[in-house]
Subunit: 227 residues, 2 copies
């Protein structure tokens, strides 16, 4: 069996697992392509590890989404699911361990940070896919889902001060209905470039952030009634 | 009492009525400003009628929103509410009738079409305020609210054909969860300029539509994974 057909087999397995979420599968394929693009600007990338990890990184997304206990972390469970699949496909032990590290370390808020070049590229590609017009669209869809306002003039300082529902060991729990897309942009999206590992990803992130920034500036002007 | 203080009184009454919806009140004031702007490009506008109608046009919005029977039409009820307020304020009979016509005729899907210059300006200003970045944001908030997809490749023809839940005398009832922001843009927003009455409003509408179009084009490219 050639490597190419192994990837096809993995892609089919992932597509089956994510079959109820066409969006998740499309995201996987975009991240896969972004990984290949970022890899061009890096030296000595193990493309076999990178491609396999990219295809498998969100395999546990639907399981996490459907889980009512809130205990499933799709990066941890995804690594376990990948382990079984790769073993069946005859991947060598060392590669399996490396691919599992890439999957475990791809979460933005995860404890495990990416240690290898391949894990860093996957982390970066995954973050790039939530920026730009997709990022704007997602922010407002979440706003609609949670009854948030279209826009708010509240400062970040005020928001962070007044909006704590519960203080937990791993951070504050906030009232999501008080959140707004512009706050999400200011608090999270704007800081993505500094969290990225590769130079090329940072460049793409900055370009996509400029698009988002322009959008929010235009929205602000319209809300204020500028003609 | 000067006219200026009459407007302030009306604004306060409307603000009280819309107090639970800061968004609705902000929209009212933007439409008011847009009306004044559009009026500059038209001859012989009765600014007294236009300003009063602009302030009052959405006064029944919250009542329509909270109505569980689905029978309240905020343009009809708004005209009735305006009637009472203007009578108390001593507006002459003829002006009241004209202002009521402006309010009744401001709805996009309403049966009564605007007959006077002032009614046409109010209609146009109200439609302009749903275009541009605000329009994009609203589309996606509604998408989030109704569990719609972020994007769909489905053609308008397919959507219109396959998606009818019920056929009613005044149009088809469609499955809103199958709807998407891009379809809303193609089916509704794109056709707004041809529905407007004043030249200046059509110009502003086209500029705001270009912004929306650019947004959806960028989204489409990102979804397809173009780098």
């Amino acid at each position: 069996m050639t490597m190419e057909s192994t990837y096809q087999k993995i892609e089919k397995t992932v597509a089956r697992e994510l079959s109820c979420s066409a969006h998740a599968m499309k995201h996987v394929m975009r991240v896969y392509n972004l990984c290949l693009h970022l890899a061009k600007y890096e030296l000595n990338v193990d493309l076999d590890v990178l491609k396999t990890a990219a295809l498998l990184h969100d395999i546990a997304r639907v399981k996490e989404f459907n889980d009512k206990t809130g205990n499933i972390d799709h990066s941890a469970l995804g690594a376990e699911m990948a382990d079984k699949i790769l073993r069946t496909l005859g991947y060598p032990e060392k590669k399996i361990a490396h691919i599992k590290h890439c999957i475990t370390a791809h979460r933005f808020r995860g404890k495990t940070k990416p240690q290898t070049k391949e894990a860093k590229i996957l982390f970066d590609a995954d973050k790039l896919d939530v920026l730009g017009a997709i990022g704007v669209a997602r922010c407002f869809m979440i706003a609609g889902q949670y009854g948030q306002k279209i826009y708010s003039d509240i400062s970040i300082k005020e928001y962070l001060k007044d909006n704590v529902v519960e203080e937990k060991a791993d951070g504050m729990v906030r009232d999501i209905s008080k959140h707004t897309p512009i706050l999400e942009f200011e608090l999270k999206f704007k800081h993505i470039p500094e969290r990225l590992y590769t130079q090329k990803a940072r460049e793409i992130a900055k370009e996509r952030l400029r698009f988002m920034e322009n959008f929010f500036e235009k929205l602000k002007r319209e809300i204020k009634g500028e003609l």
